[in-house]
Each structure stands twice: as structure tokens, then as C-alpha cells.
Symmetry: C2
Subunit: 108 residues, 2 copies
Amino acid sequence: MFNAVAEPRRRAILDVLAGGEQPVNDLVHALGLAQPQVSKHLRVLREVGVVDVRDQGRQRMYRLNGNALKPIHDWVSTYERAWSERFDALDDVLEDLKQKEEGHGSDE
Amino acid sequence: MFNAVAEPRRRAILDVLAGGEQPVNDLVHALGLAQPQVSKHLRVLREVGVVDVRDQGRQRMYRLNGNALKPIHDWVSTYERAWSERFDALDDVLEDLKQKEEGHGSDE
DNA sequence: TTGACATATGCTCATATCGGCATACGATAC
DNA sequence: GTATCGTATGCCGATATGAGCATATGTCAA
């Protein structure tokens, strides 16, 4: 999953699909890539479940399945404290408590 | 950045570092990997800024820099609507509005 | 200085990955 | 039916990536 999304062009495909269901050819034109490459990237994205396909006549309509990205979101969220303002505030509180603790605790 | 984190072992390193600053050898033992591989992975992580180093005697202390993960968080968050309950609720509201609109709109 | 320790780097091999091209396959149009 | 469109797949060559091993570099201890 992480691997599938590590490819810039695959992320580009997902970004286009975020705008709605698209047949392969529209993706080809939207991204300026060769059709076989797009099909290959779509295959990878399909295999990890981040896109779904639907046959419609001779076209294959691809649509985004954002659910598959949740594992990434969850993983990266465990590191959120680094940039989240909420956690900054929490750090301040903890720092305060620590100061007080050291104040009337034993030495150092 | 996405690429750096696409490697399972590199994510494992970050997970260990989440527990606090560590010298290379501790990472080696914690992960059961060969020391050169750990150094190489650390190099990649360093190059994208997700870890920082500090020299301490003959050891090199590595620590996590979660800030570097924010781009990933931001990117994946744009797809959050797929699984977020808040967005599910919003969808319900929108669906309601749509029903009403169709109710007293033109045909279909 | 010499030696041991901690880490980084270089080399090689095996494997994966991507692009480009040709082509196969399925569905529709004629 | 045959032609054509839309898409997928196979093959090739180039490049990247990771493991394993040896070794270089830097730091401290004796």
C-alpha cells in the first residue's frame, strides 16, 4: 500500500480520480502518459484496493476507494504530535507539571 | 519522502525512534538487522529529514523528526472523507438536501 | 601509539521497477 | 462477419534498490 502510493504518477492518478470516476483514456489525456503505463499503474492501485473498476461498454471506469488509504493515515497520525498545535499545547501543560514536580520533589 | 517511508524496515526504525533517541547499535539490536543495513536506511531517512543525528562520543544518536511526515499526512488527509464519520454525516445531510431539491424541482 | 568499539561506506549480486513498444483481448459499430 | 475502439499484457532494456560482506573512518581506552 505504501509502495503503491510512493509512485508520483500513481498519486497523480488518484488525484485525478478524486474528481470523479474516469475511464482509462481520460486519465491518459489528463496525465499525458502513455496508455500502457497508465493501465499498469492502475493495476497496482487495483491490487492494493485503492481504486475500483466497473465495466461500461468497452470502457473501464475507475473510481477512487479512499478507504484503502486509512492505514497510511493511521500510521502517520501516530507521529502527528510533531506538528499538531493541539499537542504543542499539551506539551506546555506537561512542561508546567514537570516544573512544579521538580520544584517540591527531591533534588534534580 | 513517500519513498523513504515505503520501506517497511525504515518504518520500523521510525517506530523504534518514536520511543526516544537511540544510537545505531540499539536500533540494530531492536530490529535484528545487520548494522550496515541500518546505517544505510538511516542515511535515507536522514536525507529526507525524518530523522536527525547528534554525535555523542563514538556514538551517533538518532532521533525522530516527525515534522517531515507532515506532507504525507496532508496528502492522505485530502482523501479522509472516505472513512471519516464526520464526512459520512455530511453526506447524509447533502443527500437529504438533494432529495428535497428533486422533490419540488423539475421532472426526474 | 595501539587496540577496541561504533558507525559509515564501497562493492557485488540478485531482484524489482519503470518506460517504451508491440500486440493481444473484449466490446461495439458497420 | 470485419473493422475499430478501449484497454490490458508481454517483452525488453535501463535504472534503482536492498542484502551481504569487507573495510574505511572516527572516537575513546590503555
